[in-house]
Amino acid sequence: MNLLVKNELIKIVRQTSFKVMVIIFAVLVAALPLLSVALNNIVDLFPDYYNDATYLQESAEDCRQNGEMSGWIFYTARVQQYRFFEDHGISDSSAEYQLFSDLLLSAYTARAAVSLFANGTFKSVEDFLERDNWNIASYMLNVASEMDLLESGESGESGEAGASTEPVYSAHEHPQLTEELLSQISERITSYVSSVENRILSFDIRSYYNDKLSDAEAYAEAVRQSAADAENLYKAAEDDPSIAQNKKDLLRSEAESLALELEGAENSLWGIRLLKERSSPYRGWEYNTVFGIITRASTRLGETGALDRETYEANPFSESYMTDEPMTYEEYLEYVERERSDARQAIGLARYSLENNNPLPSSLEMSGKKSWQTQITSAISWSTILMIVIAGTSLASEYSSGTIRLLLIRPRKRYKILLSKFLAIGTVWLIMAAGAYAVLFLLNLLLVGRDMFVSDLLWIGGRAVAVNSLLRTFVIMLEDMLVASLHVIFAILLASLIRRAALSIALPILVMQLGSSVQYACIALHSAFGKWITWTPFPYGELTLFRTDATSDYLASGDFVSSLMAEAFPYSVVRDFSPAIGLCWAAVIAAAWITLTFVSFTKQQIKN
């Protein structure tokens, strides 16, 4: 048998096109990490005028000479902002920059605008608005609200999610108000600018966390109180026969909802406290895990309390706005329960990650591990095409060149000859895959990120489990190969049946391409088709999409491509699909294909 396999290996390797294919594959594989780096840094490929002080200065001067004073305001403010950060050595990735750069820009914008009124360039606010620049108007409003000149004042941390700078009114419609604001701003602008500058220069992440912590503590305390009240109210009502059942249901529902809200609040509190204790860097992985996953999932958890039946049925659309037809109350309960368990899963994984210093790939700016795993999936799918070509050619060329005759007249059973072909093709594929595994590992380690050895976290049986990442990635690769092997085996089956290379190669590639369309269709339509579709083989042409967890609903992960996929197919959409079902189907279908191939090959007659 060894000798037969050796023969088949020689045939595969010595076919001239094999070497070309391997070279193409190697180049593509090596290009993957480079491409990934390029995609993630695509902004760097363009000239960065926004960070070019000379260019900004010249543009401001141009605008002034052309009388485009709004442009002059913008460029002047920007160049001042740029210089301020540069002079104080504050990088644009620092907390200070991210939190306060917009605030500082609006302060400088206001100062520049005000100076134009002072030196008489603008006579009136109409004059100002005529050369309208909505950006500048909105910056002005920002400053006004920050100076407490507007009632709807928001926190100035514009970098933070939720800090809206939407104008509360239209400057055009209220020129008087705008004029009034401008005059108030101009009175206080100098002191305001220096207060913002001081705030930046005296920024301390610890005090930042302190503020966050006290907010979270206050919130948790308030929820704790309400939850306890609701619980008491329900307990008191529970055994009181004079209270109607629907009233009791309402009370219970409220108590449960508040308990969930409290659970969320406690989790947020836990996370922020941890950040403060560790003095975690701003936008570091711990920060991202807490604010990206825990606080958001906690909020979601707090919303997953089920309404009581009466309230729900009074207005079923309130909770099922996504569907045309309202869910029944039972469906609604199931839905809410699912949302709740997803939120808990996300929190659970994030907490495990923080407790064990095991960053989730999505919490990292650049995750080499995530890129590596994504790229291996791509490499396997490319290698599948090559293997379809190699496998189809390997058998079909024996017929088309007539060598099949001299092959089959040897004292070896036909099944052994076919088996040797299968083994040789499998060996070549494994070597190619292992090569891609190693090359991609090294390149991602060098080029992308250093989290290659960080364990993968899986959610199994309601708790987080750490799994060795090198091993898991290898298993992922083998799983992908098992699924893809269907196409390769199909090519061999076709070659045995029709004895022509072209169709034996074209058809499996076509099926492979159709596979992903069918997969997307199944995912898109599975809410319409029902859950049964997750038990069929159709959605499992590839498994990547289904290897995800609830954290992906909150923090899109890692590199460019996988974050796109995570956005298109969040966990809540694909949660019903299981890679295990796909693998079982793949094994069953592969066994069927292989049996058919062996039957066909051993029974066939060589007529020509």
């Binding site: 037969l4 010595r14 060149s401 007539g402 007249i409 040897r410 004292p411 070896r412």
Partner: protein, 384 residues
């Protein structure tokens, strides 16, 4: 070698249908060690099909083939250990060198024996080109390499399908020498199919003639030579022209042309004939005994039934206008169950070679080989 030697190849009542076409009907023949058996027939007569059945490329519908006592259907591996062959053109892996191809095939028999490979390369005289890729080989070189690969396992039976295709005259002679040497010094039985009559004439010990799937006859080459009518030898005598044929010879000899007497006589009477001519004052320049070639036999056996090129109709159906050509039995139960008629040559009282062809057709009973011509010829051949 003696008559008791078990046949290397034993085909019994072999029939084969492909699709709707009945390709072979009741072929029965034996080939003994050291014998070169020529398998002769027009294109499409079933030669290659027979060979493919022998090598397990086609499934045997009916009858059996055994090689060195191993049935091809039931004991495939053992049967193939003893056979080597080329089928149609010997197509090998073009992207490998000649030597690599031989190594590849050698591995299918077990550990490749480099010494054996070199020996075969020398035998087929490919030393100079053995490390070139097959894609650079001429057809003749491929044929020679094909013979080398067929001999890798030191087979007891060598099966060659049209091996002289693409060989030049020198190549054909070389092949002939190689085969004779193998057969006569190593006792390899050679089963060689061809539609080129002249080749077999010079090469074979025995020939079988097949047409439209029916084995019409098997005979030794001596029998071919002497296949005249009634054991008479045809003699042509070159003499000076103009003299009348002497009365005692007038019954048998007459002028075929100016100065060329031709007639049939018993071999023993040739000296007397010459003496009689001398006595009559003839000046004799040459006396030639005209031997039959395979071609004569082949054409006489097949001309009645075979349009040029052969092939075509299923079964073996003679033209209705040739009453002497055996009996066509429409709808006779053909082995394999096709509804096409079956030609039963033995049923013809005065077939073209009727006396020598008792029943190579469908009705030969299993185990009746002792009485078949092939067995007898084999004996003669062995006794020589």
């Amino acid at each position: 070698m003696n008559s008791q030697t078990a046949p290397v190849l034993s085909i019994r009542n072999l029939s084969k249908t492909l699709g709707k076409n009945r390709i072979l009907s009741g072929i029965t023949l034996d080939v003994r060690p050291g014998e070169i058996f020529g398998f002769l027939g027009p294109n499409g007569s079933g030669k290659t099909t027979t060979i493919k059945l022998m090598l397990g490329l086609l499934r045997i519908d009916e009858g059996s083939i055994s090689i060195c006592g191993h049935d091809v259907s039931t004991d495939f591996e053992a049967a193939m250990e003893n056979i080597g062959g080329i089928i149609e053109n010997p197509e090998m892996y073009k992207y490998l060198t000649g030597r690599e191809n031989l190594e590849l095939y050698a591995r299918m028999y077990g550990k490749p024996d480099r010494e054996r490979i070199s020996e075969l390369v020398r035998l087929v005289r490919l030393e100079a080109r053995i490390n070139d890729k097959i894609s650079k080989y001429s057809l003749g070189m491929k044929q020679r390499l094909g013979i080398a690969q067929a001999l890798l396992n030191r087979p007891k039976l060598l099966v060659l399908d049209e091996p002289t295709n693409g060989l030049d005259p020198a190549g054909i002679k070389e092949l002939r020498d190689i085969l004779r040497e193998l057969a006569h010094t190593e006792s390899v039985a050679v089963f060689i199919s061809s539609h080129q009559l002249a080749e077999l004439d010079l090469m074979c010990d025995r020939v079988g003639i097949i047409d439209r799937g029916v084995l019409l006859d098997t005979m030794t080459i001596d029998q071919v030579r002497n296949a005249g009518e009634g054991g008479l030898t045809t003699v042509s005598i070159e003499v000076e022209s103009g003299r009348p044929v002497p009365a005692e010879l007038a019954e048998t000899f007459r002028y075929e042309g100016p100065g060329l007497l031709k007639g049939q006589t018993e071999r023993e009477k040739i000296p007397e004939t010459v003496a009689a001519l001398c006595a009559a004052g003839f000046r004799i320049y040459s006396v030639t005994s005209l031997k039959h070639s395979i071609e004569d036999v082949f054409l006489s056996l097949t001309s009645e039934y075979t349009p040029a090129g052969g092939g075509g109709t299923p079964g073996y159906a003679p033209k209705p206008s040739s009453p002497s050509a055996g009996v066509y039995v429409p709808g006779a139960a053909a082995p394999g169950g096709t509804s096409a008629g079956v030609y039963v040559p033995g049923a013809a009282p005065e077939g073209p070679a009727g006396e020598q062809t008792p029943a190579p057709g469908v009705d030969v009973p299993e185990g009746a080989s002792a009485g078949t011509p092939s067995a007898d010829f084999g004996k003669e051949e062995n006794e020589k």
